[in-house]
Subunit: 337 residues, 2 copies
């Protein structure tokens, strides 16, 4: 049988309210406090979070919603969030939505019934409505690595994808590349990265060719197909940027199939600095995000809201960093270098 506060009270010879008080560090005389502590110890008493939450206390549980925990980048984020959450005494209950709106809605509803203290929503949401509804429900929410919704008053921690796109493009331009392709996704973050790409081109007075931007279905296979297609085109690019590392792996495979040497014949870059980018051959030049600090901030913001410390919302924009590895080099066709 589970040992309850009553058992402790009885064993210590005090009332349950006294026991409750020592648990919550309230004024209790030294003597009874000791008695209670001793009783707890001896009975190996573990208070029920359920019961205490029912009276209005926290559940110390965070709803963590993302598209797919199996995605290495998201898994890495999850780990960082989890670590910070544990540090401050919270647990994560995880739900993968596959970007399906009905799952997003269902899971949020379910977790609310389970009285999670707040939500961390990672990555873009299929449907803004879900978000809007949630923010109207007086429950703490943090958007992490998601599109920034300027119109929504919700705490947000994002990386500046525009800068990321700008940096990596500039890096390639620095190597003399002029025809730089971009394999993108439909997500909002990709669009931002493309904006940065365009900005870099423009600042260096390079022409923007619409046909160099292609949209993938986010699979390695599709990226490979697109890469081959790009490389087969009459005026082929000398560098290919992918909007994430996995896509870049596809590019690598496609290029190899065509007998190209990376980076001698073609520069390729990834995005997100995942395990993949470090372990492939050649290791990828990519863009790293300050994941750890972003996750820590996201958790801390959420907790502050949960505990009612802070009321005003804020949006944090983190800056990404260019990581230069072996997959990029000078444009082999550039005459004057």
């Amino acid at each position: 049988m589970k040992v309850t506060i009553y058992d402790v009270a009885e064993k210590a010879g005090v009332s349950i309210s006294t026991v409750s008080k020592v648990m919550n560090n309230q004024q209790v005389g030294q003597k009874s406090k000791q008695k209670v502590l001793k009783a707890m110890e001896e009975l190996d008493y573990k208070p029920s979070v359920l019961a205490s939450a029912l009276t209005g206390k926290r559940t110390s549980t965070i709803g963590f919603i993302l598209s797919d925990i199996a995605n290495p980048f998201l898994a890495e984020i999850t780990r960082q969030v989890e670590d910070r959450a544990h540090e401050v005494g919270y647990n994560l209950v995880i739900c993968s939505t596959d970007f399906k709106q009905e799952k997003e809605e269902r899971y949020i509803e379910l977790l609310r019934q389970k009285s999670v203290d707040g939500f961390i929503l990672v990555g873009d949401f299929k449907n803004k409505d879900v978000l809007v509804k949630l923010t109207h429900k007086d429950v703490p929410v943090i958007l992490l690595a998601a599109e920034s919704h300027p119109s929504l008053s919700v705490n947000t921690v994002t990386v500046d994808n525009f800068i990321g796109g700008y940096e990596i493009t500039s890096h390639l331009i620095g190597f003399g590349h002029e025809r730089i392709a971009f394999i993108a996704e439909t997500a909002g973050s990709s669009q931002e990265r493309i904006r940065g790409y365009k900005q870099a081109l423009q600042e260096h007075s390079l022409p923007y060719h619409e046909d160099l931007i292609v949209i993938s279905d986010s699979s390695l296979e599709d990226a490979k197909r697109l890469a081959v297609q790009l490389l087969d085109s009459p005026n082929r690019p000398t560098a290919i940027i992918s909007s994430n590392d996995l896509l870049a792996m596809g590019v690598l495979m496609g290029a190899r199939e065509k007998g190209l040497n990376i980076p001698k014949d073609l520069s390729v870059t990834g995005f997100d600095n995942t395990l993949l980018s470090k372990s492939c051959d050649p290791p990828l030049t990519t863009i790293a995000h300050p994941i750890k600090s972003m996750c820590t901030q996201a958790v801390d913001m959420l907790i502050e809201e949960v505990e009612g410390v802070k009321k005003e919302k804020q949006k944090i924009l983190a800056l990404p960093t260019l990581i230069v590895r072996k997959s990029t080099d000078y444009n082999p066709f550039k005459t004057n270098r």
Copy 2:
């Protein structure tokens, strides 16, 4: 203000017990049932899981404990478990332990206080004691992809690592390899794989060289170092098996550093068939596990125990499959092939 069962009862003009009964599909007259349903609908009533769990019902939450959610293989497993759990109406709360015993203990304790309905423990545990304690606590537990503890009466779903090691070694032997190295880890699964490796050697009357088995610290860097070391040895191996795909990436890098062509000069294999093995160059011959079915079974077994359907424990041993890709080929030094 949150809407409770009282609000519904009042609106419907019945008692709360009637409302409770319709929620739990018990005998209730048609008329009142409709009134209640309508009231619930209109009030957008969502029963509190906390309150209902406090009275003895399930929390429909599973404690999911593993070493590191950021590990791609584990993330994949997590996803499968999550999917199945959601299908049957359960959520996962996730805890990464880094193999630290104190974390294992703390998280299990914490989750018990939160009244999770059961635990799924993934991978090997640092300390068997934690496990033993847990199994003595009348809470449902499943070991997934973990060492089988023959002495423990606990539900288990594991892959047959012995077979895995045997299969991949036999595959290499079939290619004429005789000096086959094995880069292992300390975990129990590695040991089983090595047993299979030895068995294969023996069945083919090949000598077992102790110096061909090396233990890594599980990092890519260390695997690379060990690979180089093996390749520098006087009587170098013609094939290297790694006990997981990540280590194999390290081998790939080491081999490349030494100017070897894979698979012409050296065959290398991974284990676990992760994303890594598919996306690297050349794609790795590896061992795949029936992850999906294993995870489904694990969840189902747990639920059965939670709901008290089944009482007897069982241990399920799944069979792995050899996946042949481009990283293995004939032994170049073999005379008669």
